[in-house]
């Protein structure tokens, strides 16, 4: 088992640079998740690690081996595709054993490994079926089985759950987490779903426009984001942001009034953004904010408010109170929960 190291990795498509010098270390046995909005380069980065995209410059190492210019077949990785990419003319068993058969493994060994993978993924009753006779979740399990069978050093997942319905996605998420515990291999997982990222990852890599925004443990990113992008991307519903202006020891905002703070503020009059997570806002008496909508989900309710400045805020409540749209309420919060960002989006600490 081995980790993966990226050093100054750059990808250009013609004149367009899409990955701008990424440095990253994924430890041996770690579950690393790449998240980011569509088009941020996370899939491209994964495909570069797999060898399906050429690396324009920089180097990629798997364990101690430099694999930057090595063919995908020799990298010792297994990849699970978003679209599963099962061989449609082969049965489930043949699909899983195909790679081993092509690399000249003896029949008995292939059968044993396929049976083992089928047991782990509960695919035994399906071994003789063709992919078209399987449901989406089953196909996904076969695709994962095909990866397991080869016993690779590194598993790569390219948005494996995005074609499944919500219920199945939760189920498969648990299954992938279990798989990682059982096999203990290094896994790199690409998703745009931050819930998947939070629940699966040992380490999250937040990407934006071909650059790493922040790397860290899920809760570290949640509790201590380095910049406004990460703060807004991690956490659901997203963090509320309110524009303000720096004053001595406080930030003046139209959305939340005066926010006192102890962090080092930029010069007086500079733009500062105040960020507050929905659970840190409390509705109280007052008439500053207007209720737009209440989403009651049972255990939790989300109240959508509009601030005097026109900014939208979401408040999380753990009761089932229903507020009429149009009603005026007040907002309170603990200033220690507020995060401040400068005009470039960097966190002020």
């Amino acid at each position: 088992m081995t980790g993966v190291t990226l050093e100054g990795v750059v990808k250009r498509f013609g004149d367009v640079q899409v990955i701008h010098g990424v440095n990253l270390t994924v430890e041996d046995g770690e579950f690393c998740v790449f998240v980011g909005p569509s088009g941020c380069g996370k899939s491209t980065l994964l495909r570069m690690i797999a060898g399906l995209e050429e690396t324009s410059s920089g180097s990629i190492r798997i364990g101690a081996r430099d694999v930057t210019y090595i063919d995908p077949s020799e990298r010792g990785v297994a990849m699970v595709f978003q679209t599963y990419a099962l061989y449609p003319h082969m049965t489930v068993a043949e699909n899983m054993g195909f790679g081993l058969k092509m690399t000249g493994h003896p029949r008995a060994e292939i059968d044993r490994k396929v049976a083992e993978a089928a047991r782990i993924l509960k695919l035994e009753p399906l071994l003789d079926r063709k992919p078209k006779a399987l449901s989406g979740g089953q196909r996904q399990r076969v695709a994962i089985g095909r990866a397991i069978v080869r016993g690779p050093e590194v598993f790569l997942f390219d948005e494996p759950l995005s074609n499944l319905d919500a219920e199945l996605r939760v189920e498969m998420r648990v299954e992938i987490a279990r798989l990682h515990r059982e096999i203990g291999a290094t896994m790199i997982y690409v998703t745009h779903d931050q819930v998947e990222a939070m629940t699966l990852a040992d380490k999250i890599v937040v990407l934006r426009a071909g650059r790493i925004e922040q790397v860290g443990k899920p809760l570290d990113l949640y509790n201590n984001p380095d910049n406004r992008f990460v703060a807004g991307f991690i956490g659901s519903p997203a963090m509320n942001f309110v524009a303000g202006v720096a004053e001595a020891g406080s930030v003046a905002t139209r959305g939340l009034g005066q926010v006192a703070t102890s962090v080092a503020l930029p010069a007086k009059g500079a733009e500062v953004t105040v960020g507050l997570r929905p659970q840190h806002l409390k509705i109280g008496p007052g008439d500053t904010h207007r209720v737009e909508l209440t989403e009651a989900l049972g255990g939790v309710s989300y109240v959508h408010l509009s601030a005097p400045s026109g900014e939208k805020l979401i408040v999380e409540r753990h009761d089932q109170v229903s507020l009429e749209p149009g009603a005026m309420v007040g907002l309170s919060f603990d200033v220690r929960d507020a995060m401040l960002f400068d005009k470039d989006g960097l966190r002020l600490r």
């Binding site: 077949s73 990849m79 595709f81 099962l86 449609p88 003319h89 195909f98 790679g99 092509m102 992919p131």
Partner: protein, 281 residues
């Protein structure tokens, strides 16, 4: 639903349909019916000018005659000797060129592809003299392999266009998945792409078989004599031999039309839609 069932359209449309369909069918089949009927006419009917009326009797002996008294059997065998190698050659070559053009993004890809396609735009009649001279110089004039070789050369362009587009339509992730699994490119071609190409191979085989079997032009340009002429050229020489014996030429034509039909039914079970079902999503 499209097309809408004819039963659901207006009475006028239904009425037009019931008239137009048989008319179109008769128009379409009329020459063939004429040939079929003529092939069963006794020679005396034609001598008396009864070309389109009811035959005075059914003359099966026309078929017996062309088999026993003319070299039509040999012509048929010649045709097979030209057609089968051409089908195998053109289809297998174009599978490989098609794979290369569809899967690899090398620099001159589009240019090479364009040249394969552009070859189809050259009217082959203008090549008649140079090709004949070339075959003579190569010592292949009047041989089955000379004819087959030139057919392969001329067919590969179209076949490459066909195969390249078909392979391009396969989910590319299948090839990538196999690559990541450590499967070599040749094996990807053999074990992943070829099985999924079955409908295309069947369709193209039938098409090329029919093209080549029915080819008259190159058959007359590149071969002469019973030893090497295929059936199309052979039939026309029958015509010269029995100037007024159209019933025999018709019988020969009907026989000559059978192999492509047989080929179609032979390959029919391979025309399956949805072979890649279940591969992605």
């Amino acid at each position: 639903m499209f097309p809408r069932p004819i039963q659901k359209s207006s009475p006028v449309a239904q009425w037009v349909y019931t008239i137009a369909l048989p008319v179109a069918l008769i128009l379409w089949l009329f020459p063939l019916l004429g040939v079929a009927l003529t092939s069963l006419r006794p020679a005396s009917d034609l001598a008396q000018g009864n070309y389109f009326g009811m035959p005075s009797g059914i003359a099966w002996e026309n078929y017996v005659f062309i088999f026993t008294k003319t070299p039509i059997g040999k012509y048929m065998v010649n045709s097979l000797w030209v057609t089968i190698p051409t089908v195998i050659g053109a289809v297998s070559l174009s599978l490989m060129t098609g794979f290369a053009l569809a899967v690899y993004g090398f620099r001159a890809n589009i240019l090479v592809f364009f040249m394969f396609v552009a070859g189809n735009f050259v009217p082959f009649q203008i090549l008649m003299v140079p090709v004949r001279d070339m075959t003579l110089n190569l010592g292949m004039y009047n041989t089955w392999y000379g004819l087959a070789l030139f057919h392969i050369a001329f067919q590969t362009g179209f076949c490459t266009l066909f195969m390249r587009n078909f392979i391009k339509a396969l989910p590319f992730e299948l090839i990538e998945a196999a690559r990541v699994e450590g499967v070599s490119e040749w094996r990807i071609f053999w074990y992943i792409v070829l099985p999924l190409m079955r409908p295309a191979i069947a369709a193209l085989s039938v098409l090329v078989f029919t093209f080549i079997w029915n080819d008259f032009f190159w058959a007359t340009v590149l071969t002469q004599g019973v030893d090497s002429q295929p059936i199309t050229a052979g039939l026309s020489s029958l015509n010269g031999q029995w100037i007024a014996q159209w019933h025999l030429v018709s019988a020969g034509s009907i026989l000559a039309a059978l192999p492509p039909v047989a080929m179609f039914f032979l390959m029919q079970k391979h025309f399956i839609a949805g072979l890649t079902l279940g591969a992605v999503k």
